[in-house]
């Protein structure tokens, strides 16, 4: 890496710290949300610089895209109620606690990073890649070696969606009326592209950067775009209610795959020999669908309600 690379990385790191500060400390909440979105985009760039394109894809799609849309819609509801919401911080509040606590955390993290085994676990992963059923190390770790982590991650998403839906019904109308016909046209034009890109990312996951999380995030973002373009949520309790099982499909399939091994006298999440490849593909499809629908469910801000309206869309 040349001098230009070092300068670029230094500027990137400084910008990340500055944006993180802005996102947490800006008095104007809109300013904070925009800082958070830009932080997500620059973070994705940082992951690219660290040669981790999988995480960069997920960060850009979920961290900047889906979370940004969620925060903006939450902000919109705050603003319509009582004017522009701002937060005032008391200068110097609790510095005596936060500076030592922050320094201790930073020290502990530095120590942990220092003590990591020097080349990491990359060699071990590559050595057992042949037995994993896929050709891409990241997918092998996510859905075979450390499938338990993926199970828990999808569990967290499901828990968040259940919590949000249990808080009340989705607001009606769901989105503000757009003063332009361009957005509905864009939604209709682009939704097939979203589906295509999601399928492509899912298929690529077995041998290259991609997989269930980026694919689910792209599909979920497409569904959110359709919602903004005026489509009505399709899954309501009175009709199509059973389709809500897709929300928990990923978690259920991962759990079943993990327990099946135990029942058959093997370790938890030990796949039967020879079936790892197809099994991982099946799990990826289930997890991708669940992630897409879960992100969309989060964005509904409540359980989709029955107003008797008819509509197309996700």
């Amino acid at each position: 890496m040349g001098t230009a690379g070092v300068i670029f990385d230094g500027l990137l790191a400084l910008a990340l710290v500055w944006l993180a500060w802005q996102a947490t400390r800006a008095a104007d909440l809109f300013h904070a949300v925009v800082s958070f979105i830009v932080f997500g985009l620059l973070m994705a760039l940082a992951w690219v610089r660290l040669e981790a394109p999988d995480i960069a894809l997920a960060e850009a799609a979920i961290g900047a895209g889906a979370t940004g849309a969620l925060l903006l819609s939450a902000l919109d509801r705050l603003v319509t109620r009582e004017g522009r919401r701002t937060v005032l911080y008391e200068p110097g509040a609790a510095w005596g606690f936060w500076i030592p606590a922050g320094a201790a955390l930073l020290g502990a993290l530095t120590l942990a990073a220092w003590k990591l085994p020097a080349p990491g676990l990359g060699d071990e992963v590559l050595a057992s890649l042949g037995a994993s059923g896929v050709d891409h190390p990241v997918t092998a770790v996510l859905l075979n070696f450390r499938a338990l982590d993926t199970l828990l991650e999808i569990g967290v998403l499901l828990l968040a969606a259940v919590t949000i839906w249990s808080l009340g019904r989705a607001p009606s109308p769901l989105v503000p009326v757009m003063p332009s016909p361009a957005l509905p046209a864009l939604g209709r034009l682009l939704f097939p592209v979203f589906v295509l890109v999601a399928a492509y990312l899912l298929w690529r996951g077995s041998h290259a950067p991609g997989g269930a999380f980026p694919a689910g995030a792209v599909l979920g973002a497409g569904a959110i775009l359709m919602l903004l373009a005026g489509a009505r949520p399709w899954i309501r309790s009175s009709e199509h209610g059973p389709w809500r099982w897709i929300l928990s499909l990923g978690l259920a399939m991962l759990l079943a795959a993990g327990i099946a091994g135990t029942v058959m006298g093997q370790a938890f999440f030990q796949y039967p020999p020879g079936t790892a490849g197809p099994l991982i593909l099946l799990l990826e499809v289930a997890a991708g669908l669940s992630i897409a629908l879960l992100l969309f469910a989060l964005y509904l801000r409540g359980e989709p309600c029955e107003h008797g309206y008819r509509g197309s869309g996700p």
Partner: protein, 99 residues
Amino acid sequence: MSTAQWIGGLMVLAGIPFFLLGTLGLLRFPDVYTRLHALAKADNVGLGLVCIGLGIQSASVTLLLKLVLIWVLMLIASATAAGLIARTALARGLRPWGT
């Protein structure tokens, strides 16, 4: 360096001033409409030049087509977003500069 590398490099270099001028416009223009004008025009041309330049440099037709697809999607998204922002600003009563 081959001819394709030279042409690609020149196109990327030609794209950079568009980004610089677009950013200058965003910082210096007086209201939301003129700023959108600077961004929507300059970023699109600059991104197109950079994408096509990188595609030519890669010497792979697949990669060139993927980069061009990214550019076309950006064009559609950027035009729609600019239109939405401008119409929303107008609907909320922001007067264009000089009127």
